[in-house]
Symmetry: C2
Subunit: 344 residues, 2 copies
C-alpha cells in the first residue's frame, strides 16, 4: 500500500507532512510518496537527523505550491507543477493508492473532482469529517463542499456516509440520521421533507439503517453514526461545535488560572485535561474524506502537526482497505433518482 502525501500543503508544511509521513511509514509500514520541492523535503529530513530516505519512502518533485490566495476552482490547472496537481495525477495514474493533503480544501476538492474524477453516477463529492460525539464520533456528510443541494445529493450522501461509517469506523448497521430541527417527517425546509421519504425507502429496501430526523443536540450527544446534511447546514454544525469547544476550553483555562489552589487542581487533573482537550481536537480526529471521488482522497486539517498528518495517513490506509469505493460504485444505481428500473 502506497500513500501519496502533499508535502507542501497546510500551515506547518513542509515539516508536518514530511515528519508525519515518516512516522506513518515507521508505525504502519505503509509506503509513502512525498510530493513537493525535493530540496525542502530533504532539508526537513536532514534537520531531523534523517540522512537517507527510509525504505519505502520516495520523493516526487513538484516545483510549485498552491497557496491559500490562489483561486481554489482553478489552482490545480494553473499550477500544473504544484504538489497538489502532481499528487492527484500520481493517484489518478495508479502510482499510489490514496492522496493526503493539508492544503486548501477548495483546491483539493476541485482538483480531485476534475483530475481523479467522481465515481460514475455520483453527482457531487462531499466532505465527510468524523466529528467527535458522545457516541464516539459520527460521519458528518456534507460539511461544506455543496452549499446548496437537491434531494438526490443527500440520498447519495446517506449511502456514502453509511458505507464509510460501517467499513472505516467499524460500525455495524450504522444509524443514519437526517440533520433537522424536529423529529417529525414534516419538519425542516423543503429539502428535508423531500429527502425524508427517499431515505425511508432506502431503509425499507434494507439498504441503509435510516433512523429518521436527528436534531443537532442529539447528533452531538451521539444519537447516530451518520449525520446527513446539505453543505451549508453541515458546515454550521461543524463550525459551531468547533467554536463551542474552543470557547469552553478558554473558559476552563481561566477557571484553572484563578489562584494557587485552582492551579493545584489543574495539576491534579492534568492527565484528564489532556484527554478532555483531545476530544475536540482536529488532530486526533484525523482527516476529512472526500467521499464520491473515485480514489481515496483525505483532507487533513490546515493546522495539522506531524501527529495529525500521521493520523490522516492511518485513516487513508483504512479507507483503502475498506473497499468502500467499490461498494459505492456497485450500488450507485440505488442512489439515483433517475436510474432505470428503480422505484421511487
Amino acid at each position: 500500500m502506497k500513500i501519496i502525501v502533499d508535502a507542501m500543503g497546510g500551515d506547518n508544511a513542509p515539516q508536518a507532512p514530511v515528519l508525519g509521513a515518516i512516522q506513518a511509514n515507521r508505525e504502519y509500514g505503509v509506503d509513502i510518496i512525498l510530493v513537493g520541492r525535493g530540496e525542502a523535503i530533504l532539508k526537513v529530513l536532514a534537520d531531523n537527523g534523517v540522512s537517507d530516505l527510509p525504505a519505502g519512502v520516495e520523493i516526487a518533485h513538484a516545483s510549485e505550491v498552491v497557496e491559500m490566495c490562489d483561486n481554489p476552482a482553478t489552482a490545480f490547472r494553473e499550477k500544473k507543477d504544484s504538489s497538489l496537481t502532481v499528487g492527484l495525477n500520481l493517484l489518478k495514474n495508479g502510482d499510489g493508492d490514496a492522496f493526503v493533503s493539508a492544503g486548501s480544501t477548495g483546491a483539493l476538492l476541485a482538483g480531485a473532482t476534475l483530475v481523479v474524477k467522481r465515481i460514475k453516477g455520483i453527482r457531487r463529492a462531499a466532505l465527510a469529517p468524523v466529528v467527535p460525539t458522545g457516541g464516539g464520533g459520527a460521519v458528518l456528510i456534507d460539511c461544506g463542499a455543496n452549499a446548496e443541494c437537491p434531494p438526490e445529493y443527500l440520498l447519495q450522501f446517506a449511502y456514502m456516509g453509511s458505507y464509510y461509517a460501517e467499513h472505516v469506523l467499524g460500525r455495524p448497521e450504522p444509524k443514519v440520521g437526517l440533520l433537522n430541527i424536529g423529529a417529525e417527517p414534516s419538519k425542516g425546509t423543503g429539502l428535508q421533507t423531500a429527502v425524508y421519504p427517499l431515505l425511508q425507502q432506502a431503509a425499507r429496501d434494507g439498504r441503509i439503517n435510516f433512523v429518521g430526523n436527528v436534531e443537532a443536540r442529539e447528533a452531538v450527544e451521539g444519537a447516530v453514526d451518520v449525520i446527513v446534511s446539505d453543505g451549508y447546514s453541515g458546515n454550521i454544525f461543524l463550525k459551531t461545535m468547533e467554536g463551542t469547544g474552543l470557547f469552553l476550553a478558554r473558559e476552563l483555562k481561566k477557571m484553572f488560572q484563578k489562584s494557587a489552589l485552582t492551579k493545584l487542581a489543574a495539576l491534579l487533573v492534568a492527565g484528564g485535561l489532556r484527554e478532555f482537550k483531545a476530544i475536540m481536537s482536529a488532530d486526533e480526529v484525523g482527516g476529512t474524506a472526500l467521499l464520491g471521488i473515485s480514489k481515496p482522497v483525505i483532507k487533513a486539517h490546515g493546522s495539522s502537526d506531524a501527529y495529525a498528518i500521521q493520523n490522516a495517513i492511518r485513516q487513508a490506509r483504512q479507507y483503502i482497505s475498506a473497499g468502500i469505493i467499490e461498494n459505492i460504485a456497485e450500488n450507485v444505481d440505488q442512489m439515483r433518482l433517475d436510474a432505470p428500473g428503480k422505484e421511487e
Copy 2:
C-alpha cells in the same frame, strides 16, 4: 409595570412559574398576573409558606392547560380557557405589559401571532434567544420559528435583532453578522447571497452596523452582537451549541470523578465549575424574545426552574422599558422590499 405569567407552562409548572414570579415581584418590584388554575396556584403559595397573595400579585383563573401533545398551530384556539390563551388576551387588551410562558414554543408563537398580532409591516415573528458567546452573548435571530425564509425576512430579522441588542443587551451600535460558511459575499446558498446586499445597503444608509458574513465558529467566539439566520440554520446553530456544552460538561464530570485526587481537584475549583456550568445554562440566559409581535412576549425554556422564570421576567421588564417595539414600528418601512419610496 405588570407582567403576565403563564403559571401552567413548562416542565416544572405550576411551582416554577409561581415561585419565580413571586421572587421577581419581590426583587424587581414588578406587578404580576399569574394565569392558570387558581387552586393550583394558591396551593403552590401555601406549600411555600405564602398564605396571602403578596401586594402587586393577582391571579387570572384559566381552567385549561396547553399540553405538549396539543397541535401548536391550533391549541390557543381549541383551548380558549387555557392559561396561554387567557394570558395572551390579557396582553392584547392592555391588562399587562408583557407575557412570559415556559409552555409550548409553537403554541405560544401561533397564539401570539394570531391573538396579539405582529407589528404592522413585519412579515414574520422570529425567535430571538440570547446565546452565550465569547463576547458575552449575542442575539440569534431566527432560531426556528421560520424554517424557510425569503430574503426580506432576514432583512427584518437583522433590524429587529439590532434594536434588541442595542436596547435590551445594552450594546451600542451592535455588530450584525449574517451566519454563513465563509467571509466572501458570494458564500452560502442563494438566500445568503441575496440577503448580503440588502444588509450592506442598510449599513450604507447608517441604519444597522452590518459587519458582513460571520462563520459559526467566530459567531460562538463572540465576533458579533447579532447573528442573522433563517430558522432552520439558526436552530442547528443553537442546538449544536447546547449539545456540545452538554457533551463536554459530561466529559468534564467523568474527568473529575476518576480518583480521589481528581475529586479533590473538583473541590478546589468548585466555585469556578459552577460559573463554568452557568455559561451554557439556559436558566441564566433567561428567555427567548418573540420579536416582531406587537407586544413583548418572552418564551422561557421548557425546563425552567423558578430562578429561570425570574430571569425571564427580568428580561421582559427590560424589553418593555427599551421601547424597541415602537422603534421597530416607526422604522418598518425601511425593512420592507416593497415599501413605497424605498430604494433597493
